[in-house]
Amino acid sequence: MLAGMIAGLVVAAVLAPLVERRLGNAAAWVLGVPPLAFVAVVLTHLPQGTAVTLAEARPWLGELGAELAFAVDGLSAVMALLVAGIGALIVVYAGGYMAGKATRGRFLAYLLAFLAAMLGLVLADNVITLFVFWEATSVVSFLLIGFDHERAESRAAAVRALLITGAGGLALLAGLVLAGLAAGDLGLAGAQAWRFSAWAAVDLRQHPHYPAILALIVAGTATKSAQWPFHFWLPGAMAAPTPVSALLHSATMVKAGVFLLARLSPHLGGTAQWRWLVIGAGVTTMLVGAGMALGQRDLKRILAYTTVSVLGTLTMLLGVGTALAVKSAVVLLVAHAMYKAALFLVAGNIDHATGTRDVTALGGLARALPWTAAAAVLAALSMAGAPPMFGFVGKELLYTSKLDLEALGAKLVVAAVVANIALVAAAGQVAVKPFFFPWRQPPHQPHEAPPAMLLGPLLLGLAGLFVGLVPAVFDQTLGPAMASAILGREQDMTLKLWHGMSLEALTVLALSAVTVSGGVGLFFVLRRRLGVAARLVAQASVIGPTRGFDAFLAALPKLAARVTAVVQTPSLGRSVAVAIAATLSVAAPPLLIGDFPRLRAGMAGAGIHEVVLSLLILAGAVMAVALRSRLAAVVALGLTGIGIALLFALLSAPDLAMTQIMVESLTVILLVLLFAHLPPSPDRSSRGQRLRDALLACAAGLLMATFVLAVLPGQFPATTAQFYADRSLAEAFGRNVVNVILVDFRAFDTLGEITVVALAGLGVWGLLRLRLDDPRGDDR
């Protein structure tokens, strides 16, 4: 059922441009419906405790243990609801945001495709299924960040995000495969070893590969969830249209890393390595993100860095891994998804209405954009953790969970308070300054956004208030199920705004008060001194990883150019010589070191016609080298080729013979065509060059001959040929075994080969065309 629904979403994505063309502005409202189907299905199949509902598995690359397996547990239920719910709102929003643009249909298609990938990711119950959807989200994210592909900045940001998350994805794949193999080692059989839900039966921490598994998987999750030092792709991703930032880069995709950490924490968590690695990454990210947020002028970049900070906090909480920490991660994740998506949409409305996102150029918009302002205030209060919002509940729980810890706790509390003070100030920058501070004249005369662009932010803002006031809608249903799934044991949850008068509760309340007042103070400082903060942050980021990465990216093509300059010279002869020499240097040593094949001398069994043909082939080869006229050399080469073809025919390989003759004919035609471009008289190379070429050619010929001789002496299982010969007619209904092998038994190889043929054709075409269109192309 889940697989079918995901497929349905893909179909909706494919149809989206057609729907958009037909329905115009109403299209986004229609396209917002398919994601809601997931909300309905998940809500009606909510799992209790650690239970799993709607589990399904269908075979897919059977031999590799890969299944298409999906299931709903507490964790995936909450994630799917967030993805599908916020996704539907943002699809509707995007309809208004992109109104009047020719690219709207494509944009909606990408958004729906992303939702399909993301839902597949969170609902996956198989390692490989998860990975495939994980990569799919990276690819769609690339398309969306680079959506305005005519801007160099967008393209660069898209490439950067793809490279970082792609590299992390490779690490993740290695980690997941190792984990699956380890689960197999520890006794899980067959497909079970690759199913997350089955891993509870074994203890992966006992396996000797555990440190490698942990490091690789954390590397993967850290890139996806923008953890330091990989965080810098996320602010760059703000080049995407705002609905994308709201959906992918705050509410859903960047949570995928945190989600996977949560998914794996019952299987990999709890060890000292886990704690150091995950807490370390989390705390660093939390502080770096919070600090960087303070020095930004662009609304979206402020939000991006606060997102980085919150992702760090979530990672840290999962690293701590106590029941209380996990519960507070659950609350924070949900609260953050709601308020951050809302704030991004608010930023989009501001940008849309005024033409700028520069916080210093904005002020007094509340009169012009009353509804947007209301949504902004609701979301910002939740972000700042002010009562009675959901964000307040989350922050209280965050502090409590830290106080719970012994030695490390105090330090983590201080770090969390510092980061949250910055978040409060950032919330003020984004949601208070543009609306309520003295009027600034923006580039456009501001106007309120259309309903499609108000529905999302208002609903999400109100949801934060509602869940804060009536926590029972969360702490009796989704919250405990998600915490149970992350911890791997049954949990309950009680959230409240007022915790009574115990010492702990009062301490936490005091910390909250410090956070909010500190944040407000910082906000007022920033108002006057944003320039100073921006300069400080700019200076600090010099030592950051962005520079290093960009330098690396810039150096790579230069390195490639140098290598190419050595290996692929403009002279075709030298390029071929380099290729042959490289092949020889790799292939020859093993042959020389190993048993040299016995050369079976003599001509025993060779008929007179074979001898004659061989002599003919040799004569052709010698003539091709010796002849001075190009045309004559080509004809001599043709002689060799035809001789080989006849040899094939004699040795009862008519298919090979026919192919060889056709290839020979086409080669002659090609060469004749090419001669038109060559200077009339061939310029002979120097004596030294000819000697070098002769040596290389002889060595290459010897190598190939040795190869053939080494392979020939009866090393083939005699059954292989018999196998195909027996089955060709019986099972594939063909008497020509060669053709049956090509198009049936080993058709997959052939598919690869024709792909190569196709690419070769297109490659030649591209090279020649580039040269034709660009007169300077000769130099390159």
């Binding site: 298919d655 035609i669 997959f748 297109l762 030649v764």
Partner: protein, 136 residues
Amino acid sequence: MTSLLLRAATRYLMPVLLLLSVFVLLRGHHEPGGGFIGGLLAAAALAFHALAWGPRATLVLLGVDPRTLIGAGLAVALAAGGLAAWAGGAFLTGHWLHVTVPGLGKVGTPLLFDLGVYLVVVGSSTLILLTLAEEA
């Protein structure tokens, strides 16, 4: 290259060669032949034509861009494999019609796949040949 002899010969040889290429494609399952050889044969016929009449004329005769042929060939080959996957088997499992076509024997997805090979080979070879010839 405007040789009257070549031009005259092409008029008669082209149709024969192209028919032969289809024949070789179709007989491939039982006798020597198949999509690869058939494709090369067709490409040779087209190259012949291009030599006699010039690449532009060949392109007009062909009626489609060789790149379209490449794409169509890959699509047909993939579809032949996908049909099997759709029917529940592994990708590229052969499926046959129950009726026997006179002269061909059993007809199934492998023949479709071979048609894809044929199209890719014709498209690719012709693309290279015509691009080279056009530049000349």
